[in-house]
């Protein structure tokens, strides 16, 4: 019946127009869609970095020789370290305890004489192990600088070091190993999780509380139309936020975009549907804004932050915990974002993840439609 289709379209159009008007009247939705992503991206884009730069290192040189001077100079040129000199170990250890420095490098008295002898630790390194990750990175840097300096020294003296195997490393996609390039795309997923859930978590609960849903149910409108009428406006807002975030990533943070924009847009759509669907579901189940708000805080941010692979590698998690990450929509989108930005349109990565997102969106909307009140009970 074409007549009913015309009416269906009219109802939907009416609902969408209504939602837009409400968004316009209460600018907090607009703030969530546009101001929040900009604020968060700026803060994190500049604020979050796993690259240790200018790590404060304390030096204790027991006896100054040309070799010790040469070695310390090798560090002074590195952008990774910032050198501080201490007279003795006690002073350096005190500084480490006070968190003024993160590592101590001690060159013993016999540093020069023992340099090319085996099993004679002429150099002692102490790192602050509280932050295990940083400690490990620092050890790696120190080790690398040490090796390089040794071979340099050997070459100058006309000898070669015995190194049966050397590992030649080539880093693909992000050869400068800038953590920014991998964090910023991941951040987009975190931010979209938040905006998506924030946009919709309250909207149905609010209509319950204000009694407008009751009036709505009594009209010929179907619940599917009500949900679509909520979804479409917030989807458009969310996409606006997504585009803004992508533009900032590319133009402000200089993250290379090696894949195609359209893939980002398409998978972004899917992900946004997941985020909005989750918000809607929370809103429908909670029925009051207080509980919906609490649930949205707890169910979105920390899981997306910790379980999406944004910062913590999923492969390293125990299998049981890995199983949980499959429930976090951000996981799939993070994988897509990191690939499309840094590697390109690699379909074998994009397709399964996109499929998973589509499935999740379908589940959320299925549940939302099922839980949505057709009557007042």
């Amino acid at each position: 019946m074409s007549d009913s289709r015309v009416k269906k379209r009219m109802r939907l159009k009416g609902l969408i127009a209504k939602e837009f008007l409400q968004i316009w009247r209460d600018p907090s939705s607009l703030a969530i869609a546009f101001v929040l992503p900009v604020f968060l991206l700026l803060l994190f884009g500049y604020g979050v970095s796993l690259d240790a730069r200018q790590v404060p290192v304390g030096w204790v040189v027991d006896k100054t020789t040309p070799e010790t001077t040469g070695f310390t100079a090798a560090f002074q040129h590195s952008e990774y370290f910032q050198s501080f000199h201490f007279a003795d170990m006690a002073a350096a250890e005190h500084a480490l305890l006070a968190r003024e420095i993160t590592a101590i490098i001690r060159l013993r008295e016999d540093f020069s004489s023992q340099l090319f002898k085996q099993n004679s630790p002429a150099i002692q390194v102490i790192v602050d192990g509280v932050d295990a990750n940083t400690a490990r990175l620092i050890s790696g840097y120190v080790q690398g600088t040490w090796n390089e300096w040794l071979s340099h020294l050997a070459a100058m003296r006309g000898t070669t070091l015995s190194r049966p195997v050397i590992a030649q490393q080539r880093i693909w996609y992000n050869s400068a190993v800038l953590s920014k390039d991998f964090l910023v795309p991941g951040l987009i997923a975190i931010i979209m999780t938040l905006t998506g859930a924030l946009l919709t978590a309250m909207v149905v609960a609010r209509e319950w509380e204000r009694g407008t849903l009751e009036a709505m149910i009594a009209t010929p409108v179907t619940m599917g139309e009500v949900l679509l009428g909520k979804l479409i406006p917030y989807y458009l807002l969310g996409m606006g936020g997504l585009l803004l975030s992508i533009a900032m990533a590319v133009f402000l943070f200089d993250v290379p975009l090696r894949g195609s924009f359209w893939v980002l847009l398409l998978t972004g759509t899917l992900f946004l549907l997941v985020a909005l669907g989750m918000g809607l579901l929370i809103s429908i189940i909670a029925k009051n804004q207080f509980v919906a708000g609490q649930a949205a805080i707890i169910a979105t941010y920390l899981p997306a932050f910790l379980l999406s692979g944004f910062i913590f590698n999923i492969n390293s998690m125990p299998p049981v915990i890995q199983a949980f990450t499959y429930l976090v929509g951000a996981r799939y989108f993070v994988a897509i974002l990191q690939t499309v930005f840094l590697a390109g349109d690699i379909w074998p990565v994009i397709l399964p993840n996109a499929l998973a997102l589509a499935l999740m969106a379908a589940v959320f909307f299925g549940l939302a439609a099922k839980k949505a009140p057709k009557r007042l009970e």
Partner: protein
């Protein structure tokens, strides 16, 4: 006066606990999240998938490769036979790295004229994991070299660095992360209890009702803050208990120093939560405010990414973040065994944040009446 505060306290608890959904939110997710996050958030490498492309096929190369595949950090998931297979394996994220030994690997190794080359191709999309994996692989190579030199009476490589890590000798990142999660979950629970509570009373009109009673803003403040403090401290205690007895994180400092930190931290979060709550007219605004606080608070706390790595203006911003100080306290007490006197530099900023935000919140009670 205490009878009035007592009444407020009971009311606040009942309001939180009588609603089934609200009760669940306070207890269920924090416990579940403690476990999931503690296991999930790790920078340690476990079972990282790698591919091997060995064109050499000698005993030496197999021995070399064994050292990689036997390491708990790596799992070989793919054996590559052609050059063309490398790119897809990395592209499609099937493996993080490819270890490639050329056809001349063993020849170079036995000849000893020039070093044999082991090529490592690694996916840099996740730069942090890549760096850690590379460090790890380099140390495997170094160990191999040492053994090889010893077995073949070659001049041994020069003195190795002797690296010792204080406070966390095996560099277990779970120690670092779980101590951080104590802060994270305490933050979230406390903010959830406070941030919407005044906005809700505003919407329901009960806040007006409170304002016409003889209660002073100070009493209302205490009435709102105390339940949240009790819940926050209880949940923090539970998480600390689990950290010590389940996750076996060493707890070498004084419990008193830790609890002084917990109390100050919870108070400062309550202050911020109540400030958000009394600033917002609707619960939607309260929720927005909450996110605007907790998202930066977590990221800029040093929980996962070191504050030292941030640009200096962002580092200055973190001085406003109570979680930053609390994480130093928790980790200091747990791992470094610091005493209360050593942590004074962390206590006083928390105390200042608490006092300022609590005063602001109680001032806003009256100002935002209309």
């Amino acid at each position: 006066m205490w009878a009035m505060i007592h009444a407020l306290l009971i009311k606040e608890f009942l309001a939180l606990v009588r609603d089934r959904k609200s009760r669940f939110i306070l207890i269920g997710p924090p416990v579940i999240q403690l476990f999931i996050f503690s296991y999930a958030a790790t920078f340690d490498l476990n079972h990282i998938p790698i591919a091997i492309y060995n064109e050499d096929r000698s005993i030496a190369s197999r021995d070399f490769i064994e050292r990689f595949t036997a390491a708990p950090a790596f799992t070989e998931v793919l054996r590559i036979t052609h050059q063309e297979q490398i790119a897809p394996a990395l592209d499609e994220k099937k493996v993080l790295a490819v270890l490639h030994l050329g056809p001349h690997f063993s020849r170079d190794l036995y000849a000893g004229q020039k070093p044999a080359v082991a090529q490592i191709l690694i996916d840099g999309r996740d730069s942090n994991t890549a760096m850690i994996a590379l460090n790890y692989m380099q140390s495997i190579v170094a160990a191999f070299n040492l053994d090889w030199a010893q077995r073949h009476n070659l001049p041994l490589p020069p003195a190795q660095l002797e690296i010792r890590a204080w406070f966390n000798p095996n560099l277990e990142s779970q120690w670092f992360i779980v101590s951080g999660i104590v802060g994270l979950l305490t933050l979230v629970v406390t903010i959830v209890v406070t941030a919407l509570s005044i906005a809700r009373e505003r919407e329901q009109g009960t806040f007006d009702q409170l304002m016409v009673t003889p209660l002073t803003p100070f009493q209302i403040l205490v009435g709102k803050a105390l339940p949240a403090a009790i819940i926050g401290i209880l949940e923090a205690s539970f998480i600390i208990f689990m950290a010590v007895f389940w996750f076996r994180i060493p707890m070498i400092g004084s419990l008193a120093a830790l609890y002084l930190g917990v109390v100050l931290f919870v108070l400062s979060v309550i202050g911020i939560g109540l400030m958000i709550s009394s600033l917002s007219v609707t619960q939607q605004q309260g929720l927005l405010g909450t996110f605007l606080f907790i998202v930066p608070a977590v990221i800029l706390s040093g929980f996962a990414t070191p504050i030292a790595n941030m640009p200096s203006f962002v580092q200055d911003l973190t001085l406003l973040n109570p979680l930053r100080y609390f994480l130093v306290i928790v980790r200091g007490v747990f791992l470094e065994g610091l005493s209360a006197s050593a942590l004074i530099s962390q206590y006083w900023p928390l105390a200042v944040i608490s006092i300022v935000t609590l005063i602001c919140a109680s001032w806003l009670f009256r100002r935002r009446m209309y």
